[in-house]
Point group: C2
C-alpha cells in the first residue's frame, strides 16, 4: 500500500516518525513518501528538516494519507489552500490517519462531520473548535470511524498505527512489530491513560 505523509512547517516530530517507523518496518507491504503544499524542504522547531514533494503530485490510487499535528496546525487550520487540498486527497484516499492535533486540519475539511474522532488531550479544547459537528471522543486513545483513524497525542500515533496494522494483518503480526521496536504498545484504543484536563 502506498502512503503519503503530509508535512508542514512546525509539524510534531514524533507524530510523523512514530507511524513511519512502524510502517517502514514493513517495506515489502508499505511505501512511504512525504509531501507538503509547495514541496521542498520543510522544517520544525526541533531542528528537523525533511525533503517533500508537492501535494498535487499525489495520485488518486493513494491508499493511506497521514496527517500529523504540532504547533504548525494553529496556523494551518486557516490555510484554505491546504485545507482544500487535504479534503481532496482525503476524499480519494482509501484510509486517512491523523495524529494529535492533525485531526483539527481534517475536521476543517468537514469530512469528520457526524463522525467520531479524537485528538491530543492537552489541546482538546482548541481542537474541538475546528469541528462543531464532529463527535469528539475525549476518552479514546484512538478512534476508527469509516476510513478515518484519529489518535490522541504524539506517541498515541504509534499505538494507532500498530492498531491499523492489527486491523489489516492481525494482532499477532502487530504485536511482533511492537516487540521488534521494543515498544510497550497500548492496545486498548478506547481508554486513554491520559485525560483531558
Amino acid at each position: 500500500m502506498n502512503i503519503a505523509v503530509l508535512l508542514f512547517d512546525d509539524f510534531e516530530t514524533l507524530d510523523v516518525y512514530g507511524p513511519v517507523e512502524v510502517f517502514g518496518r514493513l517495506s515489502d507491504l508499505y511505501t512511504i513518501k512525504f509531501y507538503s503544499l509547495n514541496g521542498g524542504q520543510i522544517e520544525n522547531r526541533h531542528g528537523v528538516s525533511a525533503l517533500t514533494e508537492k501535494l498535487e503530485d499525489i495520485k488518486e490510487d493513494l491508499e493511506i494519507f497521514i496527517v500529523p499535528g504540532g504547533m504548525g496546525t494553529r496556523k494551518e487550520v486557516e490555510n484554505k489552500l491546504l485545507i482544500d487540498k487535504i479534503k481532496e486527497i482525503a476524499t480519494f484516499s482509501k484510509f486517512v490517519l491523523t495524529v494529535c492535533t492533525g485531526s483539527s486540519l481534517l475536521a476543517r475539511t468537514g469530512l469528520l462531520d457526524n463522525k467520531t474522532a479524537t485528538s491530543n488531550k492537552r489541546a482538546f479544547a482548541w481542537v474541538v473548535t475546528n469541528g462543531a459537528n464532529v463527535n469528539w471522543n475525549e476518552k479514546a486513545r484512538w478512534t476508527i470511524d469509516d476510513k478515518y483513524y484519529t489518535s490522541s497525542g504524539v506517541s498515541a500515533g504509534i499505538d494507532m498505527t500498530l492498531g491499523f496494522i492489527s486491523d489489516r494483518h492481525g494482532i499477532d503480526f502487530a504485536r511482533r512489530i511492537a516487540v521488534e521496536i521494543e515498544y510497550n504498545w497500548t492496545e486498548d484504543k478506547d481508554n486513554d491513560t491520559f485525560k483531558v484536563e
Copy 2:
C-alpha cells in the same frame, strides 16, 4: 546544551526522532543539529531523508552526542573513517547517548572498554562482537556509566532520553514531558521487559 545527532544511511527512524522529540520540547535548554561523515542528504529504508552538516564541523564545546542504530550500523562498524571520527567527537563531548545498535559503533572506538553498556535485545549477539572488553548488560532498558548512556532497542531511546532529562532536571520535570507527549514512560532502567532471545 548543544546536541549533535549522528546520521548515516539506513539509520533507524525512531532511534533518532524519539530522542529529538523529547529534547526538542525543551528548545530553551537544548539545540539540536544533525551531522553525517560527509554532510548532505542522508536517507534510510523507511523513505526518510534528512539534511546534515559534516561531522568535522562539530566544535569541541559539544555537550551531547547522539549515536543511533539501524541496519546501517552493520556496514558502518567497518567504516574506519567514521569510527575514528565518532571516537574523536565522543572523547570531547560532555555526554554520549547511544540508541539500539548505535552502541556497536561506540564499542568499536574502544571508549566503552571496561564500561557497562546495552543494546537492542534482538541484535544483542551481533552487537557484543563489536566490543569484547565491554561489560554488556543484557537485562537493562538503558545503562549509565561515566558520561556514556546506552539504550536498548528503538523506543527505549525515548525512555533513556527521559531518564537523561530526569538526571539533569529532576524526575517531576521528565514525567511532565512524558505526559506532554502522552508517552507511557518505562522509568526502570535496570529491568527491560524485552529480553535477549
